[in-house]
């Protein structure tokens, strides 16, 4: 039942698997609760199967569409799973502050620092203040997303004679060029049912990284830099340059009402409804059926300003594993996540990127993934999705609303003020 027979495929680090077999956990079990459903759930279960096979443990994974609500209820009620997979660290931080998470320990922190590309930043991202106020590593990042990507259809670019832009200046020029050629450059959709607005936050975060220093970004995320600071407002307006120009987008009056899942389909329309779509690495699953990556669709790095000298910043995200109900098995599960095989098996399937330096990148299922993985590994500046780090009420509330308001015509300063007010209210 293992997807790749142990020992057969040379791409995998089977040694780590054999190492794992030394631990005997048969008869034990561990519960794991996360947001992955459907195909994603199969992927994670395929991966965990190696852990189970090697140690004899029984991993009970369950996924929920309303993960955020349920983990809150479960932790509060004391019926939490052993390990929870948080789609964003913000919620994990809140729970850590309430004392519902168990620290992972120095050793794990050291491991992350050593083994992950930009290790310290991953450690920092997973370090929260506990109930006692002491900062410790609570979150272990496993499975990352790269967000600074622009998706396009190579043929369409080719037909029109467009080149992939290397810098933000070129991107803006290309945008105007497309308009001049009578096309619509961008498909932007912020709709996401109950989470409407979040794609806008990614835009703004990417723009923050491209207009301000990484330090400013960090300050902004922790609200040392206020939301209505001119620097932030500038980033919002950078987003506005793309989104609020009716000529640039396919649904100028309805950006927020267009579902982010439907939005990329414009790339594939004939004639094309748009030429480019900025979205994270997961988006291909919403491309039309039969879309072959690298052939029918491709991505390029959402470029940085040549003139700003801020390097090649990459915005990313990732899921955080945290122990919500401590047990030796839970620790063993975290340890499993440190093995290369745990990463490689998923890499070889789909939709998985990892900053783990010790894995064989050949294990990536295709060139696109590999390319994405390389972006992650080679980032000069890697920053985590800011909205995911902000408190829930902002990152999954006021910020979303602000984005909706902004594309709805509200000036950037006002949007910044609104969000800042909301932030002030929860302090």
């Amino acid at each position: 039942e293992l997807l790749f027979k142990p020992g057969e495929d040379p791409r995998f680090n089977w040694a780590s698997y054999e190492e794992l077999q030394k631990t005997d956990l048969s008869g034990k079990s561990v519960t794991l609760f996360g947001p992955w459903l459907g195909p994603d759930k199969d992927l994670v279960e395929n991966t965990l199967a190696y852990f189970e096979e090697a140690t004899g443990i029984d991993v009970k994974y369950s996924g929920s569409d309303s993960f955020e609500q349920q983990i809150v209820i479960d932790t509060q009620a004391g019926s939490a799973p052993n390990v929870a997979v948080f789609p964003q660290p913000g919620l994990a931080r809140d729970l850590a502050a309430k004392g519902f998470l168990s620290p992972l320990g120095e050793e794990t922190a050291a491991w992350v620092k050593d083994n992950y590309a930009a290790g310290q930043s991953w450690v920092d991202l997973g370090t929260f203040a506990g109930k006692d106020g002491k900062g410790e590593l609570y979150g272990f990042f496993y499975k990352a997303d790269v967000k600074s990507l622009v998706w396009f259809v190579p043929d369409t670019f080719e037909d029109a004679g467009y080149e992939v832009p290397e810098t933000m200046e070129e991107l803006k020029a290309l945008t105007e060029q497309i308009v001049a050629d009578g096309g619509t450059p961008w498909c932007i959709g912020l709709g996401s049912g109950g989470a409407t607005g979040w794609p806008g936050t990614d835009w703004v975060e990417d723009m923050m990284l491209r207009t301000q220093t990484p330090e400013d970004y960090d300050a902004w995320v922790s609200n040392e830099l206020k939301f209505n600071d001119p620097k932030v407002v500038e980033a919002i307006e950078e987003f506005g340059w793309f989104a609020n120009n009716p000529d640039f987008v396919d649904t100028p009056n309805a950006i927020a009402a267009t579902d982010f899942r439907d939005s990329p389909k414009g790339l594939f329309a004939s004639p094309p409804a748009c030429y480019m779509h900025r979205q994270a690495s997961f988006i291909p699953s919403f491309f039309p059926e039969g879309t072959e990556m690298g052939v029918d669709a491709d991505f390029f790095y959402f470029p940085a300003y040549e003139g700003k000298d801020l390097g090649q910043p990459v915005l990313g995200a990732g899921t955080v594993f945290a122990i919500t109900n401590d047990s030796p098995e839970a620790r063993a599960l975290i340890d499993f996540l440190k093995t290369p095989i745990a990463h490689e098996v998923w890499m070889a399937q789909s939709g998985f990127l990892t900053p783990h330096k010790g894995v064989n990148t050949d294990a990536y299922a295709d060139d696109t993934l590999k390319g994405l993985g390389e972006i992650l590994l080679s980032a000069t500046t890697f920053r985590f999705d800011g909205s995911d780090l902000m408190p829930g009420a902002i990152g999954a509330g006021a910020f979303w609303t602000g984005m909706v308001d902004y594309v709805g015509g509200k000036p950037a300063e006002e949007v910044g003020n609104d969000i800042q007010t909301a932030w002030d209210a929860i302090k």
């Binding site: 947001p35 992955w36 459903l37 459907g38 195909p39 994603d40 759930k41 009970k60 369950s62 996924g63 929920s64 569409d65 309303s66 609500q69 349920q70 209820i73 479960d74 509060q76 009620a77 004391g78 019926s79 259809v153 190579p154 043929d155 369409t156 037909d159 029109a160 096309g183 049912g193 579902d259 899942r261 439907d262 389909k265 594939f268 329309a269 004939s270 004639p271 094309p272 997961f282 699953s285 919403f286 039309p288 059926e289 052939v295 029918d296």
Partner: protein, 380 residues
């Protein structure tokens, strides 16, 4: 009433028309969903469901085999040729126009020969046969894209339903749901009926207060209860189990159930109950042998609502039962099919229909009691 003389037939027509209009307005959204659930995933997000009912002209793109693929390219005399039919991968129709760039998908008429800037000569016949000729060997890992306009007949598929109905574990989820809903429908009714009887016909101190309390509790938002309750469950060791969810559904449905059933039971003729008393029946016997059978309409109508509610519930089920493979209910399973980001409208449409089916069945089975039962419960 029907026989009143001198009625204007126009009026009757107006009534028929108005009802027809109302029915159309009320069913149209659902009908749209029904049609959509039989549609192809990709079409769903590019054309309105109503267009799928008629033949439509559609722009289609096919990618011919890439020159680099083995055997894609044949050397015919001195020209390299890639040939085939655009419908090789399915579909049919007459092609009126074609294009080689997505920007002008219908630029050329069928049969016309187009020369690209690379010097390739491309033609597409009405039948769908295409031919790409080049004097030099063609290269590239991406095959040429061919765009053409085709008149497509209405196209429906059962795939969405297949996905939903044959998905792994759906049978188990169905059983789980049943295991949740049936006791979660019956238990509150039973408890409420007993309480309703006590509140309607038994004399004891505090009765009015209890009635008032029940009314007041109808409005408590259930979100307020989730955490304290789950904590309670964990503390007393019920944890996440069927008992827990039955009791939870019971608790949330109970005030309304007591309210409706008490009103109904109160409306039963006093004499019947007294008569049974004279016959020597105890309150328990009166309840079981007289009141319960006579309250069937009210019980049935409340059952419909409680059933609809528990069937469609996801929140309470996931909180109190969990979402393990073992415990997942139908709504949860269907939701799971949508994947983490929930973009599979085609699955959503089909699963919405699948999930309506049982409640609708229950509704039609019990609806004749609905009218009688509810009225007696709510109105004097």
């Amino acid at each position: 009433m029907d026989g009143i003389a001198g009625r204007k037939p126009a009026l009757i027509w107006a009534v028929h028309l108005s009802v027809a209009l109302l029915v159309i307005l009320w069913t149209l959204p659902t009908f749209g969903l029904l049609v959509s659930s039989f549609r192809d995933k990709d079409q769903l997000s590019v054309s309105g469901w109503w267009t799928s009912l008629t033949s439509t002209e559609r722009n289609v793109m096919v990618r011919v085999p890439a020159p680099n693929d083995d055997g894609a390219q044949v050397l015919e005399g001195s020209v390299y040729v890639i040939a085939g039919n655009v419908f090789d991968e399915g579909g049919a129709g007459d092609i009126s126009a074609f294009g080689i760039s997505s920007r002008e998908p219908g630029a050329y008429e069928a049969g016309e020969v187009v020369t690209t800037k690379d010097g390739e000569r491309i033609s597409v016949q009405e039948s769908g046969d295409y031919r790409i000729e080049s004097d030099v060997e063609m290269t590239g890992k991406r095959g040429q894209r061919l765009f053409f306009t085709v008149l497509e007949p209405p196209l429906f598929t059962l795939d969405n339903y297949r996905t939903v109905l044959w998905s792994e574990g759906i049978g188990k989820s169905f059983l789980n749901t049943m295991t949740v809903t049936i006791p979660a429908t019956v238990i509150p009714i039973l408890i409420a009926a007993f309480a309703g009887y006590a509140l309607a016909w038994m004399r004891f101190p505090g009765r009015t207060f209890l009635v008032a309390m029940v009314v007041g509790l109808i409005v408590v938002p259930l979100q307020m209860s989730l955490i304290p309750l789950l904590r309670l469950y964990t503390d007393i060791g019920i944890g996440k189990s069927y008992i827990g969810i039955w009791l939870a559904h019971t608790g949330f449905g109970l005030p309304l159930a007591i309210y409706l059933l008490r009103n109904y039971i109160k409306s039963l003729p006093k004499e019947i109950i007294e008569s049974a008393k004279v016959d020597g029946a105890s309150d328990f016997e009166i309840f079981v042998k007289i009141v319960l059978p006579l309250s069937f309409p009210a019980l049935a109508s409340f059952a419909i609502f409680q059933f609809l509610w528990t069937w469609n519930d996801l929140l309470v089920a996931t909180v109190f039962l969990g979402n393990n493979e073992e415990q997942l209910v139908m709504t949860g399973r269907l939701r799971e099919l949508l994947g983490s980001r929930g973009g599979n409208w085609e699955i959503l449409t089909a699963s919405a229909f699948v999930s309506i089916a049982v409640p609708l069945g229950v509704f039609f089975a019990l609806q004749r009691y609905l009218v009688r039962g509810l009225l007696a419960g709510s109105v004097k």
